[in-house]
């Protein structure tokens, strides 16, 4: 018991240290390095809280996507001639950000402490009703069944975010390709890495969706892994990003929410919007999960890639 307590206390201390060092460091790149470290530690914290589904998502987002996104943004800023020292000299801005974060923490802590003790919330109800449905992982059950409309809306929000990023494209590059053309030595380490890892990532993504119906995993975690290996393939210069006018690409982006919505509307026949007929529930949830995975993967990868910058 003592070891567990010490471990949790140490983890909290390191997370806070990483956060403070990321915010107070003079060096912008140092702040990014600490943010990556912070993501890894937060994933471990979710493991300690026995929220393995969330830990998987945080590991994929924090270790995979955020680092690539922030370092890419830093590189673009540097090349655009923005001086790091100048950007970081607004101590007032940092103070406001710090105060806002502290205030959010206090409100969240107050909300958690205000919960009546000894209540299990909806967990017993979810466990009881899960048997009627297709899946045995309670998190997937809640996301895809009991509160399916939340998940449907979130998948659409992700798509809207991408539309917003694309809206920043100047008319001259519209329909073009995001980012710079990446290149690498064809027989070098980077190209080898970019060929070896994506197949493993693909298998892992399929495994995570499949596992999601009975144990931690699911479309979002798997989609993030897909997005990460997509970015790696591009960074290794093996394939270029697709032009944003590509019909195939747009189909992939919309497929997940569209299939989800279509099945949801068909649910009207079974009694209500987003209701699944009992005998098909498992198959339908898996179908939604798999198409959502590919759409989430494509959307996240393109969010990181940014607006179109050159002609197709």
């Amino acid at each position: 018991m003592n070891a567990a307590l010490l471990l949790d206390a140490g983890l909290c201390l390191l997370i806070l240290t990483a956060a403070v060092l990321a915010m107070t460091g003079r060096d912008l790149f140092g702040a990014i390095a600490f943010f990556i470290v912070y993501g890894i530690l937060i994933a471990l914290a979710w493991v300690r809280l026995e929220a393995v589904d969330v830990a998987l998502a945080e590991a994929a987002i924090g270790a995979g996507l955020t680092g690539v996104l922030l370092i890419g943004a830093w590189s673009l800023l540097r090349r655009a001639g923005v001086s790091e020292a100048h950007e970081l000299s607004h101590w007032g801005l940092r103070l406001v950000a710090g105060l806002a974060s502290a205030a959010t923490t206090v409100v969240l802590a107050a909300a958690v402490l205000a919960l009546p003790p000894g209540r299990e919330g909806l967990a017993p109800l979810v466990t009881e009703r899960l048997a009627d449905h297709g899946v045995s992982n309670p998190v997937t059950g809640v996301l895809l069944d009991f509160r399916a409309y939340d998940t449907l809306m979130e998948s659409i929000v992700l798509l809207v975010a991408l539309v917003a990023v694309w809206a920043l494209t100047p008319a001259s590059a519209w329909g073009g390709v995001p980012g710079m053309r990446q290149h690498a030595r064809p027989d070098g380490v980077l190209a080898m890495f970019g060929r070896l890892l994506p197949p493993i990532g693909l298998v892992m993504a399929v495994y995570l969706v499949w596992a999601g119906s009975s144990q931690p995993g699911g479309a979002f975690q798997a989609g993030t892994v897909l997005a990460a290996v997509w970015l790696l393939v591009v960074m290794a210069g093996i394939y270029d990003e697709p032009p944003i006018s590509s019909g195939l690409l747009r189909t992939a982006l919309v497929a997940g929410p569209a299939v989800f919505l279509a099945i949801g509307i068909a649910g009207l026949g079974a009694g209500a919007l987003l209701a699944y007929p009992d005998e098909y529930a498992y198959g339908l949830i898996l179908l939604i999960e798999f198409t959502l995975t590919f759409s989430i993967g494509a959307t996240l990868a393109l969010l990181v890639a940014g607006r179109a910058r050159r002609a197709a």
Partner: protein, 94 residues
């Protein structure tokens, strides 16, 4: 046994804390990103210990994802240091 595994995880947390110093000091950016890599490897090892301590092998999947993506930030970093920001440090080698 799970007490021992948790203590081992605590020890790893200590080695990660040591790594923090190098992320903070640098001096070069490569030092910072390489020490972030050390935190990643330590984190993977911690997930394995926690999986065994808690008897929950699904936690190993978190380690798998961390290990798969461990190199990504460093790859983005070495690309940003190439001449046009889109290359590969090995490109001009003979």
């Amino acid at each position: 046994m799970s007490e021992f595994l948790l203590l081992a995880a605590l020890f790893l947390l200590g080695t990660i804390a040591l790594g923090f110093l190098r992320v903070h000091w640098g001096p070069s950016r490569a030092d910072r990103i390489a020490s972030a890599q050390l935190v990643g490897t330590g984190g993977v090892a911690m997930t394995l210990l926690l999986a065994a301590a808690g008897g929950n092998s699904a936690i190993i999947d978190v380690g798998l994802v961390l290990a798969l993506l461990a190199a990504f930030a460093a790859v983005a970093f070495v690309k940003s240091t190439s001449a046009d920001g889109a290359g590969d440090p090995e490109e001009n080698d003979e």
